[in-house]
């Protein structure tokens, strides 16, 4: 069970076991596009979060349940809070508009009783709102109705991929904003130095 991130540190997912021999990547790639696929190099770095003993297999089992229950990758992309976002079967709960790639990862852990971060307080980034407007515009090209609902969520708190990845590197969880931010920035420096 690992948290994985792409080279640019803007897309986050999970590596988890399908069986005793196979590991896959599982991530919310885009609006209505929850993917489980073979590891294909999309994610550059990965980290095993400091989960309590016996808990990592539970996260993996929940991921497999979600994949089996969510048909055709139907998972909306939006800026909702990850806290309590997923039902027992992994679907979005009623009233939850959707998640981002990073908040989906947080929501998976939260659904099995593990918090990677202290959700509040969480600082807004200087570009969060502009990013949310850009996402809304892009989704609006295919789903105008969803984009309208997205626009109503702005400004929303944003748990950025590098911050969640940073949280997975901590010595213990949950971590606060400052620690997630610092570890995420440091991890990005390390990964960039490999290139």
């Amino acid at each position: 069970m690992a948290v994985c991130i792409n080279q640019a540190f803007y897309h986050l997912g999970l590596y988890h076991a399908i069986d005793e021999q196979t590991i896959c990547q599982f991530h919310l790639a885009w609006h209505q596009d929850l993917k489980r696929e073979e590891i294909n190099g999309e994610f550059r770095a990965w980290s095993v979060p400091p989960l309590p003993r016996f808990r990592a297999p539970q996260v993996a089992a929940f991921c497999r349940l979600v994949f089996n229950r969510i048909k055709k990758g139907q998972m909306a992309y939006a800026f909702s809070s990850p806290v309590g976002a997923l039902s027992k079967s992994g679907a979005l709960k009623e009233g939850v508009l959707g998640l981002t790639c990073a908040s989906f990862v947080l929501a998976v852990f939260e659904a099995v009783g593990v918090d990677l971060v202290e959700y509040l307080p969480w600082e807004k980034g200087p570009k969060d709102e502009a990013w949310q407007h850009w996402i809304t515009k892009e989704i609006g090209k295919d789903d105008a109705g969803h984009a309208q609902r997205l626009a109503e969520q702005i400004p929303a708190l944003r748990y950025q991929p590098y911050q969640v990845f940073g949280a997975s590197l901590a010595g213990s969880i949950p971590v606060d904003f400052e620690e997630a931010e610092a570890l995420g920035v440091r991890a990005r420096e390390i990964v960039n130095s490999w290139s």
Binding site: M1, A2, C4, Y15, A17, I18, D19, E20, Q21, T22, I23, I39, R44, A45, W46, S47, V48, P50, P52, R53, F54, R55, A56, P57, Q58, A60, A61, F62, R64, L65, N68, R69, S87, K88, S89, A111, V112, G113, V114, D115, L169, A170, G171, S172, V175, E178, E179, A182, L183, R186, A187, I190, V191, W194
Partner: protein, 140 residues
């Protein structure tokens, strides 16, 4: 800001070569996981235990998650309470016990037998020399 013992062990490449599949179990399976006079069919739990004992740990967890999720979807809370009150905690490996607690977490308030089961699991882990509070954190 304090960084609490960060582990900057960023990993790279194919994780299948990294061997991050959790830890080895130390307990032994025993033939029976349930009381005998249970009126519901819980043979799936025995099946899960057998899969686990045979080394198919992911498949064993999948059986538990799938079956309990279906019971919850059907609002079969009474059946799950019967299950909780009849499990031989000592005869199931910790990962399957935690699976039962994890998958029922969203319905904890509706399952009157779950808290007693949680206590049994807690005690069982402590008896086995594990840190039950740490392992079960967030599952009560």
């Amino acid at each position: 800001m304090a960084l609490t013992a960060p582990r900057l062990d960023v990993l790279i490449g194919d994780p299948s070569s990294g061997g991050h599949f959790g830890r080895q179990q130390t307990r032994q399976e025993s033939p029976s996981t349930l009381e005998e006079d249970v009126s519901y069919d819980f043979s799936w739990l025995q099946h899960a235990a057998e899969l686990y004992g045979g080394g198919q740990k992911a498949a064993a967890l999948d059986v538990v998650y799938d079956r309990v999720d279906r019971l919850l979807s059907a609002a079969e809370y009474k059946q799950l309470d019967v299950l909780f009150s009849n499990i031989f905690v000592e005869n199931l490996p910790p990962e399957l016990l935690l699976a039962l607690l994890t998958v029922t977490l969203p319905a904890a308030g509706k399952l009157v037998g779950r808290l007693a089961f949680y206590d049994q699991v807690w005690y069982s882990l402590e008896q086995a020399g594990e840190s039950a509070d740490e392992i079960l954190h967030g599952l009560e």
